[in-house]
Amino acid sequence: MKQETIMSRTWLDNAFWETPRKELLNAISEEVDGNKTKRQVHKIEKLNADGTPNELFIEAIEFLGEEKINASSQKRLSKKQDEADIEKQKKMEHERAKKLEQLFEYKLETFEIPEIKESKNRLLKSKLRRSKSVPEVNLYAILLVQESLEDVGTK
């Protein structure tokens, strides 16, 4: 990971651009002082506040090379994107599971409606149980209640 150098300060090769316009570099420097190694995280602007080139920025770019920083930035971006996709997928799975639980409770309540509870129409009751959404449950519930009312009407 560490680049060989004759300079006293070296830069780790995991530096990356913070912005697409490459005006802000995130990089870690390393300085060895006897037995001690000091690492420092920098967020380095391309220009100083007065618009002049930032010497530290130039040093890091010269040390690492722009291509390496580009590659490292791309790798980091892909990793972040993958993580975000996994997180999004997990959230969706969680929401789906929660929705399923709520739907189950809703179905149980629906099955307790007297006309449905007493219905012998296995097919419609089975369709109600297999319903994937509240509107679908309601649809079969209406059919079952309607059937019950028609039965009353013909008796």
């Binding site: 997928q89 997990k90 799975e93 189950f104 509870k117 149980r129 297999r130």
Partner: protein, 249 residues
Amino acid sequence: MSELSKGFVIVASRNINFYTYAINLIQSIKDYYPEALITLVTEERFFDGRETEDTDQIIICGGHYREKLWGMANTPYDITMYVDADMECEHEDIMTIWDEMKDYDMVFHELTKEREQFYAIREFKYNGGYEKYKLCGGVCLYRSGSPLVKEFMDDWYELYCKQYDNRWMPDGFDKEQWAKDLRHFDQTTLWWLVNKVDKYKDLKIGIFEDDIRWNYFTQYGYEGLKSKTGAPPILRHYSGCLQKDTPIV
């Protein structure tokens, strides 16, 4: 030799909601497996006419907290699939359940590391170290016609009652943890019988093939846990999400 009888046992006691869950479960099994033999073990006070619609037997039980264990011990079948009442069948593979018996005496769903976050407790202190519950009693396929298995089920119920009533606590457990987490749990009794009782050491205990399909806790879905083969759940378990003490209507 006559063919072994095979059927499901579902228990609903103490709380009317469990009766409602059980009726739904029974009907859902019949949706996918019309020939299934099902025994409902329940209290007479819950009867509302639906108890006989899809069952081939009704057994009246008491109102104990874990009457399920008594129900399991009193199954009328030679091979029994016990299913917790708060589950629902949602796949035709339910018909393949008897193939899972293989040459085992009992078959369970496994409590694994991946699944442990969804269980009340998996690891517990024992004899200065730690032990783990490995078997989940939410579903259990067992050779109920075998005298040793029948004895096991009787013991599970009787010992659990003693445990629950504070008449039995074996050495080696942490007293505080026992009182807080283990005493009320039928898994504790199951662990003891399987691991510490000599007469049961030769019982062949297995895990369902692709076992997540046979006891898919809805919470597994929170983390997107899937079956090994990618096949959908056969029995979904709603135990963690239902308001069991709140009337359904």
